[in-house]
């Protein structure tokens, strides 16, 4: 319980520092944001008007406080590019990105864990080499390249799907999920390779531990050792990485949405960045980061539940 409270406090502090860092990153810009946005040939009145609109003529601390109180109430300010409230823009996009991320995460776990075990089982056999090379390829492929390959092979040559054919979840949920399948796969493959590598390394490390020797001394066979002892310990060692994988998945979706033309937060973000839409960028950055931080918090709680060494000593 004490552990939980402490972790919650850390979570709140982390979110606070994220908001602080993001806010100041966008406000300690060399030069005035208003004139930056408007360019060099703007009139002074235009600049002043935009300053007023952005609130950048007030002291920084005041700006932060009014911004953060607005943020908590769900008022994220207005997008410069779309000239509408950021909250409106976000509404339809959050579920899209979250679904894409979730599908990818499920794919990663569903494929990565069994393959990781297989990789560990195959140590010293010819299958190991092939799996190693595949893993290395998977890790080395940038997801946007993979995406193009998938579109070309599965979309254009094999006609398994039509690239750019996105169906909104408001129209048809099954077809929405279907249209996310290939994009999710593009995100999942490199991350799956990473997970396979981690699980394999963790399993092999565990196999070298003294307690495995003890189990052999008791007369346990390879299968018994692998599933009875090593698997759980290896997974406990790998769970902390799930947060990291999720961060990569979300980063991946930012790019992949761009490629497949999926109207999620990632596509919005890239648009905001290229058009220097500060309020929108700021909000999206905080949104995505908070999702990751909260996931990491949940992962910490899960670890605490499954690992008695932490659970019982109350320390991490």
């Amino acid at each position: 319980m004490k552990y939980f409270l402490r972790k919650t406090l850390v979570l709140v502090l982390t979110i606070f520092s994220i908001s602080l860092l993001t806010f100041f990153a966008f406000h300690i810009i060399p030069g005035d944001p208003a004139s930056l946005i408007l360019g060099t040939n703007a009139t002074e009145e235009q600049v002043a008007a935009l300053q007023e609109q952005l609130g950048t003529n007030r002291p920084l601390s005041e700006q932060y406080i009014s911004w953060i109180t607005g943020f908590v109430r769900g008022d994220f300010g207005s997008s410069i590019r779309y000239r509408m409230p950021v909250s409106e823009l976000l509404k339809g996009r959050l579920p899209v990105t979250l679904s894409l991320g979730l599908i990818a995460l499920v794919m990663i776990l569903a494929a990565g864990i069994p393959l990781g075990i297989l990789a560990a089982r195959w140590r010293g056999k010819p299958g190991e080499k092939i799996l190693n090379i595949l893993t290395m390829l998977g890790i080395s492929v940038p997801n946007f390249f993979l995406c193009i390959l998938i579109m070309w092979i599965f979309g254009l040559i094999l006609h398994l799907f039509t690239p750019g054919d996105y169906v909104s979840y408001t129209r048809s949920l099954p077809r929405f999920l279907q249209s996310l399948f290939w994009p999710a796969l593009s995100i999942a493959i490199p991350q799956t390779a990473i997970l396979v590598k981690y699980i394999r390394t963790a399993m092999l490390e565990e196999l070298g531990e003294d307690y495995v020797r003890t189990a052999r001394g008791k007369g346990a066979g390879e299968t018994w050792i692998l599933y009875g002892h090593v698997l759980k310990n290896a997974i406990v060692a790998v769970v902390p990485l799930i947060g990291m994988i999720l961060a990569s998945v979300l980063s991946g979706s930012i790019i992949i949405e761009q490629v497949y033309g999926i109207p999620g937060m990632g596509k919005l973000l890239i648009g905001a960045v290229t058009s220097r839409d500060f309020p929108l960028t700021q909000t999206l950055v905080i949104y995505i980061t908070v999702i990751i931080v909260v996931t990491n918090f949940l992962v910490d709680i899960v670890i605490q539940v499954i690992d008695p060494r932490i659970r019982l000593s109350g320390r991490s």
Binding site: T214, G217, G219, G221, K232
Partner: protein, 321 residues
């Protein structure tokens, strides 16, 4: 003479070096473990005592190979049996405890499951039976609150408790022989005394033979009936405790005993053995101890010494014996 549980004949173990060559770590050793006895192997680091024990259990690291010899367990050559048969023997007829009880236990598994694991591997019991057996064993090895201990995880126990758990685990199937690889080295002296007493009690009450490895002659003396002295992969002397400690013949054994500081040696120089403990890669001499031996003669560098029987159980491999 009583029946032999284990007979080791010309056992030779090789370690793969970094460059791929094979270095001989255990060199044609032969000995037997008799029913109900506690046999000690004493030696310094790198003498091959741990490798020998691991080879008996079939638990050698991947880079160590048995090159020659036989390990006869009740007439069956363990170096030749199938993996299935090996697994049948391990934990049931033969079991082992180690120096590091902390790392030798699975950190994420409750003690109960770990203690009862050999039973689950070698028979079928109900949950209740497993629980009762584990409980009985923990009580047997002198754990004060066995129920609480069964529910605990390894990191919650003290070093001495962990070693007791290891002993319970190793003896739950009533093995014919228990191998103990420096089981008290990591423990404090007072804890060590308790664990030695426990092992001795198990040996006396159940007739479990014990092969006990240590670098400490004092520990060996406290627990063993017979001792083998190993040096650079060879057995250089063997005999009963009193043979070895009171009337050692091999120059290495003598030097080892003399170099231990004891009550009556205060203020005197310790007649220590010069030079350093050889490692596996060092070039082999006919008599491995000759380079450090004060009494080495010309023949010692030329010819391997034969092993002479000095007394009923007392054998020494030295040109001077």
């Amino acid at each position: 003479m009583s029946e032999n549980i284990l007979e080791i004949k010309d056992l030779t173990l090789g370690v793969t070096e970094r460059d791929g060559s094979m270095a001989v770590a255990v060199d044609h050793i032969s000995f037997e473990v008799r029913a109900g006895e506690i046999l000690g192997i004493v030696g310094e680091s790198g003498c091959g005592k741990s490798l020998t024990v691991m080879s008996l259990m079939g638990l050698l690291r991947e880079d160590v190979k048995a090159l020659e010899g036989q390990i006869l367990f009740q007439g069956e050559d363990l170096l030749a049996v199938s993996e299935e048969r090996r697994r049948e023997i391990n934990g049931k007829d033969m079991s082992i405890i180690y120096q590091e009880p902390m790392t030798s236990l699975n950190p994420l598994m409750r003690i109960e499951r770990q203690v009862a694991e050999p039973l689950r591997l070698h028979g079928s019991y109900s949950r209740e039976e497993l629980h009762q057996k584990a409980l009985a064993l923990l009580t047997e090895v002198g754990i004060q609150d066995p129920e609480a201990c069964l529910r605990a995880y390894p990191h919650q126990l003290s070093g001495g408790m962990r070693q007791r758990v290891m002993i319970a685990m190793a003896t739950i199937c009533s093995p014919r022989i228990l191998l103990a690889d420096e089981p008290t080295t990591a423990l404090d002296v007072t804890t060590q005394a308790h664990v030695l007493d426990l092992l001795k009690r198990i040996n006396r009450e159940y007739g479990t033979a014990i092969l006990f490895i240590s670098h400490d002659l004092g520990v060996i003396n406290r627990i063993c009936d017979r001792v083998l002295v190993m040096y650079a992969g060879k057995i250089v002397e063997a005999g009963t405790n009193r043979d070895i400690l009171d009337a050692p013949c091999h120059e290495y054994t003598r030097g080892l005993i003399r170099s231990i500081p004891t009550r009556d040696r205060k203020g005197k120089e310790l007649p220590s053995i010069p030079g350093r403990v050889p490692s596996v890669e060092d070039p082999k001499e006919p008599c491995p101890f000759a380079p450090r031996c004060r009494r080495a003669m010309e023949i010692c560098h030329r010819e391997a010494p034969a092993c002479t029987r000095i007394d009923q159980d007392h054998i020494a491999c030295c040109h001077l014996c």
